[in-house]
Subunit: 106 residues, 2 copies
DNA sequence: TCGGGATATGTCAGAATAGACATAGATGCA
DNA sequence: TGCATCTATGTCTATTCTGACATATCCCGA
């Protein structure tokens, strides 16, 4: 969040914190969630860049459109394993995924 | 595998290939397995460096020694989610995990 | 050789996740 | 507006994963 926006919200009486704070997540839990969200975003980005629909990706994964939608939404019912399977099915490499993870840490 | 060893084995009549070839894994499947094995190795390394036993790590994870053993052995019954939980419980950062994944790609 | 801690392996009941389907909402075009 | 396509959400059952326990194996110091 930009400092300016943070200041605006604070001025308006909003208490500003991270999602992790709001949900009372421990450091480990939020790292896991952050990883998951990052991978789900990478999945959507990669699918869109390749010009595929959720349905098309689902067929590659022997899965369903609704599951792909949940993957991209980082739904509770989606595992990191499944997200990685999706990314690899779209041609991602391990190194590419490593880079994506390093980027959010910066 | 070193070239010399490969040559020795070939000379001895062995057919030399990767584990993925032997197990008939697709590119996606083997990427997933490679990721899993890499993370399991990172977990063991990190645990040993910290001087913890499997039992001690298990307690941090609210799990059992036997499960930690399986995690480090990259057992079929272990998810990547669980491996990441283990790594984060040992203080690993997302960036650190990203680096580990990039390294094997090199 | 024994004893004790650490690690490995097999199994199981319960919890979490998977694919599938129905359906709702969104978007764009004729 | 009506229709077609894409995406989102809720729910079901089957499968997979998880913690726990029992037990086996390994390793080392006394």
């Amino acid at each position: 969040m930009k400092k300016a926006k943070r200041a605006r919200l604070a001025a308006g009486g909003w208490r500003v914190g991270t999602a992790a704070q709001f949900l009372c997540l421990s450091a480990e839990e939020s790292a896991l969630v952050e990883t998951k969200v990052t991978l789900s975003q990478a999945l959507r980005r990669k699918r869109v860049v390749l010009g595929l629909t959720q349905h098309q990706l689902a067929r590659r994964l022997n899965s369903s459109q609704s599951r792909v939608a949940k993957m991209e939404a980082a739904d509770r019912s989606v595992s990191i394993d499944l997200l990685l399977r999706g990314l690899f099915a779209l041609g991602a490499t391990i190194g590419e995924i490593g880079r994506v993870l390093q980027r959010i840490a910066a």
